[in-house]
Amino acid sequence: MHINITKDDFDLTREMNRFNHNKYNYGAISIFIGKVRPENGLKKMQIDCYPEMAQKEIKNVAEIARSRWTLDKIRIIHRYGLLKPNDNIVLLIIGSRHRADCMSANEFIMDFLKSLAPFWKKEIYSDKEIWIEQNESDLKKLQQWENI
């Protein structure tokens, strides 16, 4: 399991090479990349972060995912700092023997990151700055996992 909380950008090809570096047993890989959506007039996005807590919390949820699905490998990168529209924010790569496991685990971990990992986004426009509020539908998605 690899978790990296960083200001630096990531490159998918390089990360895939690292992911595939050692011997592996997976027959499926799911990849999710979250990016800064280019909202109309958006200049920058500031992502605040509590790195020590983020590292712990993401490791915890990855371990929960491992206990729920059969997963071989997990690689998570979450950026913080000042980003531009279209910049990468998050990368999640999961390898498993079968497709369903890595795809479900990918969605589960992303639902967690949205609402429970200690990151906060601020949209910066030329005339205003807005801290994004937690989305009710994101919370509901997270709650759905408790019933499965």
Partner: protein, 83 residues
């Protein structure tokens, strides 16, 4: 006690972290918020909408009744919006 603030809470208080001597009668996170709000208007403003604030003690999410001690790191932040 080491205190950390994030997002708009850090902007209102105008600092991201500090070390403060907290009176020994302060035993919980909720009491700590009341105490901070009583010593400075910036804290009072930051903690005004209390239901919109989350807390962590030593990087673990807790509720207001969590017991705290001098050596703890207590963090205050809005609901998370990662991913």
């Amino acid at each position: 006690m080491k205190l950390k603030y994030f997002a708009w809470i850090a902007e209102i208080i105008d600092k991201r972290e500090e070390s403060l001597e907290i009176p020994s009668k302060i035993e919980t996170v909720g009491q700590l918020i009341d105490y901070l709000s009583s010593i400075d208007e910036a804290y009072e403003k930051a903690f005004e909408k209390r239901k919109n604030i989350k807390f962590a003690v030593n990087q673990v999410l807790v509720n207001e009744n969590e017991l705290i001690s001098k050596t703890d790191e207590v963090a205050f932040f809005p609901p998370m919006t990662g991913g």
